[in-house]
């Protein structure tokens, strides 16, 4: 009796053909983007999206054509942070025109599909009770469509803001035909570093994309009155952690209420408060990433002459 391997083709279901066509559309769209970089942590609540919004602003300020994909399907926040929530998506034959953020940053987020603040992502379907079996696949298909069907145009850089969860990193990033780098964000707390260390392993051993480096967020709090710095967490020094994990250290971003206030207002602090210490730290980090990707000498110049 014949076995599975003895039978060529798919009996006419054309499932494989359709999956191949999906991948081809994705490849064609991504081919127009010079560098694709994922920003991840594995741990939630580390301020990753704020970092992404400000890095995007830094690159756009340096004259690059930048896109941002909010890959956090269930907890989208970049639409808010980049001030595009009120924009309407335009559905055209060639693709969906993304929202336009500050300095022309192209933004796509699930937030742009939802009608109100209170609306969560709910999927139609006949098997709601077994959601744990298929929700991951729905999210992956959604992200593939976000990548492939958005009219990103020619971009120098596409930043992907990944959701928390080390398990999501390979499943989401495997959609991309090529990934030029991974930026990993941590807090200087032992709890955060515990999770982030796992993400580094996943990035190195499963995703196998270049790790551009580790960013320490909420590094310390500077008193607005006396200027004294105070550590907020008592974890391992993140530079030492990066050294221990054999990845580059990109820098520290101090805790600064300006960052979160600007995120709430929909304007990256790097643009509205460029002299704030956190904004300057983010500019330096962007310059290092740009250098690693050989993207933009202009970024370094912009950082050196505020």
């Amino acid at each position: 009796m014949k076995t599975y391997g003895d039978i060529p083709g798919d009996a006419g279901s054309d499932v494989l053909g359709q999956v191949n066509a999906q991948q081809e559309r994705l490849r064609a769209r991504m081919a127009r983007i010079h560098a694709k970089v994922a920003v991840l942590s594995g741990k939630g609540g580390v301020g990753k999206s704020v970092i992404v919004a400000n890095l995007a602003a830094a690159f756009a300020k340096g004259g690059l054509r930048v896109g941002v994909l909010d890959a956090d399907i269930n907890g989208p926040s970049l639409g808010k942070m980049l001030g595009v929530r009120g924009q309407r998506l335009a559905f055209e034959t060639a693709g969906v025109q993304p929202a336009l953020g500050p300095l022309g940053i192209r933004v796509l987020s699930m937030d742009l599909f939802l009608p109100s603040d209170e609306t969560p992502v709910l999927w139609t379907g006949p098997a709601q009770g077994e959601g744990y079996l298929w929700r991951g696949a729905m999210e992956a298909a959604t992200l593939r469509e976000f990548l492939a069907d958005t009219e990103w145009g020619e971009l120098d850089l596409l930043l992907l803001d990944l959701p928390p969860g080390t398990d999501r990193i390979p499943s989401l990033l495997s959609l991309l035909p090529e990934l030029h780098g991974i930026v990993i964000v941590t807090l200087p707390s032992r709890v955060s570093q515990l999770i982030v260390a796992k993400s580094v392993t996943v990035a190195k051993e499963i995703v196998k994309a270049p790790i551009l480096g580790l960013v320490e967020n909420m590094a310390a709090h500077r008193c607005a009155h006396c200027g004294a710095e105070e550590a907020l967490f008592a974890g391992e020094d993140s530079a030492q952690m990066a050294e221990r994990l054999a990845i580059p250290f990109l820098g520290r971003v101090p805790f600064d209420p300006v960052l979160t206030r600007c995120a709430d207002e929909g304007t990256p602090a790097l643009l509205s408060h460029p002299t704030a210490p956190a904004a300057q730290a983010l500019s330096r980090i962007a310059a290092k990433i740009g250098e690693a990707l050989r993207l933009a000498p202009a970024l370094v110049e912009a950082e050196e002459s505020p």
Binding site: K2, D14, Q18, T119, W123, T124, A127, Q128, E130, A137
Partner: protein, 164 residues
């Protein structure tokens, strides 16, 4: 998944797809040698799993519509996100995804179910952005079970079934 006609030792070919019926799809396979046919019937979870791949058994016939999957799969969405071909907020421009949505759509075409006063009051307590979606799901459940009337007990059964 492939089907083999054991007496002929021949791979079977898809000859027809039927449905949707109650979230289930029937895919008919035939043996090219002896012409014997078998049908693969999917349960709602299996239908949903295939739907999650954004494919149509037998091949896509309509041209690619950008973001058709997301637009047809979101239960609650902005007005401009709705596909042009969608007759309702849960309809689908994609032939296969319409299979999974059809249960809800068909209920629309049948008109509203009869709700007890207590059940209707409980329905009104569901947040507005998911109320119509929940209503359709509960009515569909009641219809599947042969209930003539949606009561609080029926709502509770549906809630447990759907994990709402």
């Amino acid at each position: 998944m492939k089907f083999l006609c054991v007496p002929c030792d021949e791979p079977m070919k898809i000859t027809e797809t039927k449905g949707p019926e109650d979230g289930s799809l029937a895919v008919v396979f035939g043996c090219p040698s002896c012409r014997r046919q078998v049908a693969m019937l999917t349960n709602p979870m299996e239908t949903q799993m295939v739907r999650s791949l954004d494919v149509k058994i037998g091949g896509q016939q309509a041209p690619h519509d950008p973001m058709a999957f997301v637009r047809s799969s979101l239960a609650v969405k902005r007005e401009e996100v709705q596909s042009p071909s969608e007759p309702s907020s849960t309809g689908s421009g994609c032939p296969f995804t319409s299979i999974a949505n059809s249960a809800f759509e068909r209920q629309d075409s049948m008109g509203g179910a009869i709700w007890s006063e207590e059940a209707a009051e409980r329905l009104n307590n569901i947040p507005s952005f998911v109320r119509s979606w929940a209503q359709k799901g509960i009515e569909q459940y009641a219809r599947e079970k042969g209930y003539q009337r949606v009561t609080v007990e029926v709502m509770e059964e549906a809630r447990q079934r759907f994990g709402m």
